[in-house]
């Protein structure tokens, strides 16, 4: 069985407001029937705690619908803020899309 995972690729700055917009996009994608969403953050140039806060809030909403949220492609700055806030313990993180596909998509 395969799960329908949609990939979203936000770009630019991911602060609280931008991440909140992203949350709405993720929820839209879910409503359209995806089982999971992969966020590829490779195009994110800057992210702050509020942005991560909104991501966790997204994660919460996704889980409430019994669906999955995956994150991949952390740039150095983004990785740093993930580690500072210990979010690497909370999210399913993958190096890049290929890594995600080899570990998740094939496992199903």
């Amino acid at each position: 069985m395969t799960i329908a995972v949609k990939t979203l690729e936000p770009v630019g700055m991911l602060d609280g407001a931008a991440a909140h917009d992203l949350k709405n996009q993720v929820l839209d994608v879910m409503r359209q029937g995806a089982d999971g969403v992969l966020l590829n953050l490779a195009g994110i140039t800057y992210m702050n705690s509020s942005g991560i806060g909104a991501l966790v809030s997204t994660f919460k909403a996704v889980r409430e619908n019994d669906k999955q949220l995956y994150i991949c492609g952390l740039t150095d700055q983004v990785r740093m803020i993930f580690e500072l806030t210990k979010m690497d313990r909370v999210f399913n993180l993958y190096a890049d899309v290929a890594d995600f596909q080899s570990k998740v998509a094939t496992a199903n």
Binding site: G16, S50, K60, R63, R89, V90
Partner: protein
């Protein structure tokens, strides 16, 4: 604005933006502290070693324990006051160098409500909207945890009135004007698009791509000849042809020597009216032409190869070789010439002249933005960026509403985390985005200058970058003050001791307490710290994700969310500031029931934090921060020991037993100096605070002992503890039932004194001194206890 500016003019001119100094008389205070601790230690030593009444150990030991507890409490308290600092600051608008108004950070005001009457919230919200701050940078949120229709309506009404106010109208008009200008620019840029596309199409045959084969040279030459305008002298043209041929040959023989023959070579030519510009793009590896030219000047006349460069240098006026961003190399050849206009009729040369001018402008645009491949792409990018700008303005215009209402759904059977949950919900709801969050209780009315006075603490001028940068300050706390205190303050709400030397002492050790209201927090600090704690909770139990938006910011593990939040911020390295200037005034509860509820909550919450997040064990805190937090927690265990003190004279009156060996000269010698110096130390520490208020504080500190015992007991026995919101409306009534314990102690003390007098009269006691000392002690207790008994039936003189 001039009125507000006058209010905001800083009273004391400062040489720098901020100044920090020790509170006055700190050295005197420190001297007294040392003497006090020595004398106190001496007294305690004497008590332990020489004055325990062995005959009544059941009484002597508890009293001694109480004295030891008090001594260590005193040590912690006095050491906590060791470095009280006073801060002075320039207002935000008067910083030097100035911080431009359009660079002010965005601020969200959170007014936390539970069940307060709408008129109280209205005053606070109006004052918050009237804060001296750019209207586009300030938002006021009414966080209604009671979900009441009145507050919702109030918010809508305030919002509409605010939108119609002159500053908002002006801001809207300004935004609208900016948007109009952007739209007009967009229209003009869009109008250019077709013509620009045509121009680029017309210039397109000035570009050619060929494979790396020698046999395409004729094709290249033919292409070059076909773009030749009239007006370029033959000799010049010949030179250009030669240069092109040599450049092409150079690519084949050097740059593309080891590359496949299909590797493309891009050729570009721009023929202006005074210059011919040639560019040859190859895909070889980087090559330092400048360096090569410097080291290889002379070429052997008989050599087979290596003349190309020399020929190039002789035929063109300027040449350069650089590596572009797309891993291609470019050989630029520039040949200047004087146009021959007189030989050709005007109608023939004019089109070429125009084309040359067009070329020059086109080149200028391309050279200006080398990352864009064409002017068409440039135009497209500009249209996109303008559209984004216009969208932003649209968004801002639609987002002008400054007074908003947030209420959360509180499902049954799930923890709501009280006030912390209310604030966290607003933080993560996605509706609030301010860089800073000002938290106000529903009744705390801010003064207009609030933000101007506290925001400067969050910025540091960076000399290297010549601008203000954020620093590591997480919050600035200001005092809590009340505008409804009755004369004499029967409930002891005035807190100049806490919002004075105590907070200043904590500030001196980077551990100012956040007290839940009248404070401004850096959102980034709060969220960053909250996420770290959430991650730890999540690692233990991933079901906690469901509560994320209620626990991910402010600490929610106790009913005093404020103190624990500050402690957590300190533990992850954020700094804090206590700014001792009254910037908001609120309502104090003016009945005993509400007062006791409030104090019980503080006590229970503090002890909860001690059990769940003990400062002594918490990593990341400094020694002094641990001391400050622990001191507060330690002080709440005082209830048991006060009971011992209060009971001692009573026991004496009825039994004649005393816990010390004697109350003779030895006792006086050890006790009196310690007591006097202790009082002096206290006076020095609290200089400037009316004695009346200090006495009131002392009375409540003692008289509340049953409440402290109850708090410790309830937390340690794990009774369910509810966050009780302090009522803002007077709960009328007589509350003698709430002070039962105090009444019993008061009555027994009084009865004991009378009983003792009778005993003395009957001649049963030989030593009137002991009776006298115990009576004085008992009178002191009566004076302390009286305050809360009196407060139980206190009513305001004029009905509110």
């Amino acid at each position: 604005m001039s009125g507000a500016a006058a209010v905001l003019a800083d009273q004391v001119p400062l040489k720098r933006n901020r100044r920090m100094r020790l509170r006055d008389r700190t050295l005197l205070f420190r001297y007294l502290v040392v003497v006090n601790l020595i004398l106190g230690g001496w007294y305690l030593y004497w008590r332990v070693t020489q004055s325990i009444n062995g005959a009544v150990l059941w009484l002597a030991i508890p009293l001694l324990a109480a004295e030891i507890y008090m001594y260590f409490g005193g040590v912690l308290f006095l050491v906590g006051l060791w470095r009280p600092i006073e801060r002075q600051v320039r207002s935000l608008g008067q910083l030097m160098p100035p911080l431009p108004r359009d660079q002010y950070p965005t601020v969200d005001v959170f007014i936390t409500c539970y069940n307060e009457p709408a008129d109280i919230v209205e005053q606070t919200a109006l004052a918050a909207l009237a804060l001296d701050y750019p209207v586009t940078q300030l938002r006021v949120y009414i966080l209604d945890d009671g979900n009441s229709p009145e507050l919702r309506q109030l918010s809508e009404r305030l919002c509409l009135t605010d939108l119609q106010s002159p500053p908002l109208q002006a801001a809207t008009a300004a935004l609208d004007a900016q948007r109009n200008a952007l739209v007009a620019r967009l229209h003009q840029v869009q109008a250019l698009q077709q013509d620009i596309a045509e121009v680029e199409a017309a210039l397109s045959h000035h570009r050619l791509q060929v494979p790396s084969r020698p046999e395409v040279l004729p094709e290249v030459m033919a292409w070059f000849d076909q773009v030749r305008p009239v007006g370029v002298p033959d000799s010049v043209w010949l030179g250009c042809q030669t240069a092109l041929g040599e450049g092409f040959d150079n690519v084949l023989c050097h740059a593309h020597r080891h590359l496949p023959a299909e590797t493309p070579i891009d050729l570009e030519v721009a023929i202006l009216n005074h210059v011919v510009l040639l560019r040859l793009w190859d895909r070889g590896s980087p090559f330092d032409l400048e360096g090569h030219l410097l080291t290889h000047t002379a070429v052997d006349d008989w050599a087979e190869r290596g003349r190309g460069l020399n020929i190039l240098r002789q035929t063109v006026d300027d040449l350069a070789y650089f590596r572009g961003a797309d891993d291609r190399n470019c050989l630029v050849l520039i040949k200047r010439y004087a146009p021959q206009r007189q030989e050709t009729p005007a109608h023939e040369s004019d089109p070429y002249q125009l084309l040359g001018q067009l070329h020059s402008l086109h080149q200028l645009l391309l050279l200006n933005q080398p990352e864009q491949p064409s002017v068409t792409a440039m135009l497209k990018a500009q249209v996109q960026s303008l559209q984004a700008d216009i969208d932003r303005k649209h968004h801002q215009l639609a987002d002008m509403a400054r007074c908003r209402y947030i209420a959360r759904v509180k499902p049954q059977g799930r923890p709501h985390h009280a006030k912390a949950g209310n604030i966290n919900h607003a933080l993560f709801s996605g509706e609030t985005h301010g860089d800073f969050v000002l938290t106000l209780d529903a009744d705390h009315i801010p003064k207009p200058q609030f933000l101007q006075r506290v925001l400067p603490y969050f910025f540091e001028f960076n000399l290297d970058r010549g601008q203000y940068d954020g620093n590591r300050v997480a919050f600035v706390q200001t005092p809590q003050a009340f505008y409804n205190l009755p004369p004499g303050d029967p409930f002891g709400h005035d807190a100049h001791l806490f919002y004075g030397p105590i907070q200043q002492g904590k500030d001196g050790m980077n551990s100012a307490f956040y007290t839940g209201t009248n404070a401004i927090l850096r959102r980034e600090a709060l969220v960053n710290m909250g996420l770290q704690h959430f991650a730890t909770d999540f690692a233990k139990d991933d079901q906690r994700l469901a509560e994320f938006d209620l626990i991910g910011g402010l600490s929610s593990i106790s009913i005093t969310e404020d103190m624990n939040t500050a402690m957590r911020l300190h533990s992850v390295g954020w700094r804090s500031v206590y700014h001792s200037e009254v910037l908001a005034e609120g309502l104090a509860p003016d009945d005993l029931s509400s007062t006791l509820k409030q104090k019980l909550r503080w006590a229970q919450g503090t002890i909860q934090v001690m059990l769940r997040d003990n400062p002594l064990l918490k990593p990341g805190l400094s020694f002094w921060q641990r001391l400050q937090y622990f001191q507060t927690m330690y002080s709440y265990f005082v209830g048991f020991f006060i009971a011992v003190f209060l009971a001692s004279p009573i026991i004496f009156f009825f039994t004649g037993l005393i816990p010390v060996d004697s109350f003779g000269p030895q006792f006086a010698l050890h006790f009196v100096p310690a007591y006097v110096v202790n009082r002096l130390t206290f006076v020095a520490a609290s200089w400037g605070i009316p004695l009346r208020e200090l006495w009131r504080n002392e009375q409540y500190a003692i008289a509340l002992f049953p409440l402290y015992i109850q708090a410790v007991w309830s937390v340690f026995t794990g009774q369910p503890i509810k966050f009780q919101v302090t009522p803002k409306q007077r709960q009328a009534g007589v509350y003698l039932g709430l002070v039962r314990v105090q009444l019993v102690f008061f009555g027994l003390t009084l009865a004991g004194m009378l009983w003792g007098l009778v005993q003395l009269g009957l001649g049963h006691w030989s030593d009137p001194w002991v009776y006298l000392i115990n009576s004085l002690w008992a009178l002191y207790h009566l004076a302390l206890l009286w305050v809360i008994i009196r407060a139980a039936w206190w009513q305001p003189k004029t009905p509110i």
